[in-house]
């Protein structure tokens, strides 16, 4: 059996690092990724397209999201099996209930694993989150009750690899990898973690289109081939659109804004797609940060997100700290204070720029 697994598309999710215009484009990119996944399913001639939850965000669905999903999956040339997750949990007002799905679409509705015989001797066991939180592990107390090959499809948190995955995630429908074979499943097709994980007993495909920086890299839809004896082979297929780059330009020394701009321009050369830019480092005390224009350097990109400048005037603090002046006292006092490193840098820059008569630059930094 050949199954194409995807998860965590998070249609209609906000992109809080971006302005709404970029956010709109990103949301469209996520839809485009789903379209490519459906096309990939046809191209690979899979036996089913499996969606392991968090297909959309329930609290943010747009009026046409349901129709988009209905049309997309309706166009699929294979069965589409959906196991709702914690963001698209199956409830009374769920899109899953409202959409008139085409006959090839199956939405698992129970909060326990239920069987769907995809082919003789091959069963998919799927389950749904029925609430946005506090969903128990689907494998707890579960055991396959039939012969043949069984594969699980659900949205859950594998606890063994939890520490290595995204921090701040709550343990939704937790399980440990060893529960998979104990339950009689040959493999578990799962969603929730956005970083792909092709583990022995389970597969996380990751979110195909990044939602945040740090999620760039290999991710997409996983072609899972299950042999008659339950052995699994996998192949990750990228389906994302424009590449993402989170770049940091470390200015070692710049004596005027043009040098900063040139270093940034060089760093952006050859890049395409979505770029988040951090400009950090030291510049000569005379550099006009207020007049520094960087947004225009991203004209060739789909989006350029510029974080607040982390440039500080390159004062020789150790030399200044030796001075028996107000400036020397100021530097020593600030360095000896209990302020955080970033606070110290900001306060030192503010005081020293002010002593140089250039406090107006602070508003731009």
């Amino acid at each position: 059996m050949r199954l194409l697994l995807c998860a965590d598309l998070h249609l209609d999710a906000p992109f809080t690092w971006a302005d709404p215009a970029v956010g709109r484009a990103r949301r469209q990119a996520v839809r485009d990724a789903l379209t490519r996944i459906v096309a990939l399913a046809a191209e690979l001639e899979v036996d089913a397209l499996c969606v392991a939850g968090d297909l959309y965000e329930h609290e943010r669905t747009r009026p046409d999201t349901g129709e988009f999903l209905r049309a997309s999956f309706g166009a699929a040339s294979c069965p589409v099996l959906i196991a709702p997750g914690n963001h698209d949990w199956y409830g009374p007002a769920s899109l899953y209930r409202q959409v008139a799905w085409s006959p090839n679409v199956t939405v698992f509705r129970a909060d326990r694993l239920t069987a769907l015989e995809l082919a003789p001797g091959f069963t998919i066991w799927g389950a749904a989150h029925r609430a946005p939180a506090n969903t128990d592990g689907f494998l707890d107390g579960f055991a396959v009750d039939r012969g043949g090959v069984s594969v699980g499809l659900f949205h859950g948190s594998e606890q063994g690899g939890f520490a290595g995955q995204e921090s701040g995630k709550r343990a939704h429908a937790p399980f440990v990898a060893e529960q998979v074979p104990r339950a009689g499943l040959a493999h578990a097709l799962v969603g929730h973690f956005h970083r792909p994980a092709l583990a022995r007993w389970h597969t996380y495909p990751g979110n195909p289109e990044p939602l945040a920086f740090g999620e760039e890299g290999g991710r997409g839809a996983v072609l899972v081939s299950v042999a008659d004896d339950g052995a699994v082979t996998r192949e990750l297929n990228r389906v994302g659109g424009a590449p993402w780059h989170d770049i940091r330009v470390q200015i070692t020394r710049a004596d005027h804004g043009g040098e900063v701009r040139e270093q940034v321009r060089q760093a952006l050369l050859g890049l395409e797609g979505i770029v988040r830019l951090t400009v950090a480092g030291e510049v000569a005390p005379g550099v006009d940060l207020a007049g520094l224009e960087l947004a225009g350097l991203g004209g060739h990109l789909e989006a350029l997100v510029i974080r607040p400048l982390q440039l500080t005037p390159s004062y020789d603090l150790s030399a200044l700290a030796r001075e028996a002046t107000v400036r020397g006292h100021f530097v020593r006092d600030v360095l000896a204070s209990g302020l955080s490193v970033s606070q110290r840098e900001r306060v030192l820059a503010a005081g020293l720029l002010a002593l140089d008569g250039r406090a107006d630059e602070l508003a731009a930094s």
Partner: protein
């Protein structure tokens, strides 16, 4: 620290020349174009070198390059030998063009000590004084412009002292810096009051507005979801009612079939109302039913009117029953109204049949009502969907507003902290400096002014200097005669140099034509003062006035002081300039 020699290997018009300096007061005298300013700059460069950094030089550095690169195009290099207070003799070599061959060597141990004073890539001897290059220039190098500035400005002396205290004179005063920060806080942050219009208030209002937008969008989304859910529910109810109607219709049809099978169909006394079908009745069946009814009606009419007999009557009843049964099977509800009369033993069956018709009718009514409501809910859903605000976009706007608020709040915190630290540092330094300066003034003032002024005091907050004569009336130092003000200023510069280099080597002073605008009396007073001050620190005075040379020839001894008379650069003299010792 005392500078023993300065060698200009290549510096402006100077090439391969050496200047030997006395440990006390050295007067370097020469006419215009004799290279005084070049020697002054070369001395500074030999001590402090140049910043070694990538990128284009600053405007000040560029000016230094333009003014002092070798005229003959040779290597741009200077060196000097200094003796530190701890007795070490150090040779400093500064490669000013490549800035590569720069080093400080302890000549006694022949050891490279550059690491002790390496600043921005080249050795800087001002580090031994606790200063920076800029600080040394501002503290130890005094030019005529500065003296004039102090004399001409209303609060020039106080400002100069504040600058010196704040940044060793290399930048602004602490008070000005604090005021700049306060201004920045007013304009770039502003107050957080309802009437305020500055960024902080605007950012707060933007966040509040964005939060409200998110709330509104979330509510609208919830409302939309509820409407959708309601429409979905009503649709489900309509479907259920339809299913019930179908079931009741089917049940009625089955009962009718039973009645027909019993062959005892009669029109009931109170026949049930017909139930309209919700199913589409096939046209062929409608024609079939019509045909049966037509035959039945004809036969019955013949039996009654013509009296054709029992057979005709029986045939009519059979045809009627068959037509009813077909209709029931087709739709469960007849579009016609079959009036059936049953025998007493079949009344129960007929009653059930009637009840099923009523149930079907009620279910159909519910279906119609639910379908109507579902349709309305669908219309509402579609209408609200058109204007449904995007929760995601509202959240993105809120995040942007929160970022801006955080930025402004962070700036407010930074400015507040910087102001606090600066004010604290200013108070500490002023409290430290004021008594030192006052003490020096009190010690020197009576002698320098020949008793005209006998006491001095200083406001530690502002470093405002006041002096008083025997009448004990204090006057602001800026309001004194230029001669006295000059003396006070130079005294305070020396005191500041002492203060700012406290704990480090003694700071030499390099004075460039500071007497050029003074009348002969003031010039003599200044020279005497400098001579006195040079007992404790090395002073190098570059001067062009003949009066200064004469004074130097007359007053400077050969052991501790020196007069160096520079020849005109145009004479093309090369080699060591040497030291003209006067009075030896």
């Amino acid at each position: 620290m005392r500078i023993e020699t300065v060698t200009a290997h290549g510096f402006g018009p100077l090439a391969g020349q050496k200047l030997g300096l006395a440990p006390g007061l050295t007067v370097v005298a020469g006419d215009n174009e004799s290279g005084k300013s070049s020697w002054h700059a070369a001395t500074f460069a030999a001590l402090c070198g140049r910043r070694r950094g990538r990128g284009r030089p600053s405007a000040q550095e560029q000016q230094f390059i333009d003014n002092h690169q070798p005229w003959d195009g040779g290597p741009w290099a200077v060196s000097c030998v200094v003796r530190l207070d701890d007795g070490r003799c150090i040779e400093l070599r500064q490669d000013l063009s490549g800035k590569v061959d720069c080093r400080a060597t302890d000549t006694g141990l022949t050891r490279d000590v550059s690491a002790e004073i390496m600043v921005d890539g080249s050795p800087d001897a001002s580090a031994w004084l606790g200063l920076t290059r800029a600080g040394f220039r501002a503290t130890a190098c005094v030019g005529q412009a500065e003296v004039l500035g102090v004399l001409d400005a209303a609060d020039g002396l106080q400002h100069a002292l504040q600058r010196a205290a704040a940044t060793a004179g290399s930048a602004g005063t602490a008070a000005t810096a604090i005021e700049l920060l306060e201004t920045c806080r007013r304009t770039a942050v502003g107050r957080d009051t309802a009437a305020a219009i500055r960024p902080l208030r605007r950012a707060r209002e933007a966040v509040a507005a964005a939060e409200e937008s998110v709330r509104a969008a979330t509510l609208a989304q919830a409302d939309f979801t509820a409407v959708a859910e309601q429409a979905d529910q009503l649709s489900a109810e309509a479907d259920a009612a339809q299913r019930q109607a179908h079931a009741a219709g089917d049940e009625a049809a089955a009962l009718a079939e039973e009645l027909r099978s019993a062959g005892r169909l009669e029109a009931p006394a109170h026949a049930p109302r017909a139930v309209a079908s919700t199913r589409a009745v096939p046209r062929s069946r409608r024609w079939l039913v019509g045909g049966f009814l037509a035959v039945a009606t004809s036969l019955l009419a013949a039996a009654v009117v013509v009296g054709s007999g029992v057979l005709a009557a029986v045939g009519g009843i059979v045809a009627l029953v068959a037509g009813g049964a077909i209709w029931g099977a087709a739709a469960g509800q007849a579009t016609t109204r079959p009036y059936l009369r049953v025998a007493p033993d079949l009344r129960k069956l007929q009653q059930e049949w009637s009840e099923q018709h009523v149930l079907a009718e009620a279910a159909l009514r519910r279906h119609h009502e639910a379908a109507l409501r579902a349709g309305r809910a669908d219309a509402v859903r579609a209408e609200r969907g058109l204007s449904l605000p995007s929760v995601a976009e509202a959240e993105e706007r809120l995040a942007a507003a929160q970022r801006e608020l955080s930025r402004v709040q962070e700036l407010e915190e930074t400015l507040g902290l910087a102001i606090g630290f600066l004010a604290q540092a200013q108070e500490q330094v002023h409290r430290q400096v004021a008594p030192e300066l006052t003490g020096l003034l009190r010690a020197w003032l009576p002698e320098l002014t020949r008793g005209r002024y006998v006491d001095a005091r200083m406001d530690p907050a502002l470093l405002a200097v006041e002096v008083c004569g025997p009448d004990a009336v204090f006057r602001r130092a800026e309001l004194l005669s230029h001669g006295t003000a000059e003396q006070v200023y130079l005294l305070l510069r020396v005191a500041l140099a002492t203060q700012l280099t406290a704990g480090h080597d003694t700071c030499p002073l390099l004075l460039d034509d500071v007497t050029v605008h003074a009348d002969p009396g003031r010039t003599r007073q200044l020279l005497e003062l400098l001579h006195e001050l040079s007992r404790d620190r090395q002073i190098v005075l570059f001067a062009q006035q003949e009066q200064v040379r004469e004074w130097a020839r007359d007053r400077l001894d050969g052991e501790f002081d020196a007069l160096i008379e520079l020849p005109a650069v145009g004479l093309g003299l090369a080699g060591p300039v040497g030291r003209s010792l006067v009075g030896a």
